[in-house]
Amino acid sequence: MTLKDILTLLEAELLTAPSDLDKEVPCAFASDLISDILMCTKEPTLLLTGLTNPQVIRLSDMIDLLGIVFVRGKVPPQELIEMAEERNLMLLSTKLTMYRSSGILYNKGLRSCKI
């Protein structure tokens, strides 16, 4: 599954400048707790979250995030979008809930990341 597929499946909006939308995404993780997200040390992953503070982008300096989907219609502040662009990290926003988004992606074959 690519980021482009994820944009379509979640009826999401791309918040950052498009770079590599054909990038393959092998797995995903969903949480609103930073310490939970930090369990993803085994492989690069897509993150679904409702957190929109700068520490979410800082996370991508620690673990390898392939992109972040903000769920429940959350849109992060502009400074956060700029931080992501500096890191070449793509940000998506969907109106769907975290549960629904995860369910759709899982049904289409996107597996959970190894923890």
Binding site: T41, M62, I63
Partner: protein
């Protein structure tokens, strides 16, 4: 003064002899950690990770180092009156020490229990305070050593080997 140790048995001898000798590092980095500064928190750990990346350390090990260091940096930011992070880079390992100005941990064994947290509302709103900080540090390090005195300071040391 309360103390907590956790050592990966594979590295017990080398880690203990390292702490006894504290040899001079190839590269050392120092960062100031300010109280509740969630804008800059994590920069020190990111810098350590980037330095190690340039040295060619394996990406999975880099993530372990970054997560252990970041959780500790966040702990100092969220729970202390400020402190410092000292990182020492060697050809086979990294040693990072966090020293804060207080107020100390009242019960370290309790603080190690996953899910237990004393985080305030501000910290929780940021997505922290899951009570997994210290367990995450332990899981991702080969040595974890905490010394703390309630009403005084806390020092947390970690060592992680690259192989």
């Amino acid at each position: 003064m309360a103390e907590y140790w956790n050592v990966n048995p594979d590295y017990e001898i080398s880690a203990k002899s390292f702490l006894a000798d504290k040899p001079e590092a190839d590269v050392s980095l120092e960062f100031e950690i300010a109280v509740k500064d969630f804008v800059n928190a994590g920069k020190g750990s990111a810098e350590v990770k980037n330095t190690l990346k340039r040295l060619g350390v394996d990406p999975a090990i880099l993530r372990r180092i970054a997560v252990a260091s970041y959780e500790a940096e966040i702990n100092v930011t969220a729970h202390s009156e400020g402190g410092k992070m000292y990182s020492y880079i060697y050809d086979d390992s990294v040693y990072i020490r966090f020293e804060d100005k207080g107020p100390g941990i009242s019960n370290i064994e309790q603080a190690m229990v996953p899910g237990w947290s004393t985080a305030d509302d501000l910290v929780r709103e940021m997505g922290f305070g899951a009570g997994l900080g210290l367990p995450n540090i332990q899981k991702n390090s080969d040595l974890l050593h905490i010394t703390s005195e309630y009403g005084s300071t806390t020092t947390l040391e970690i060592i992680i080997y690259y192989s």
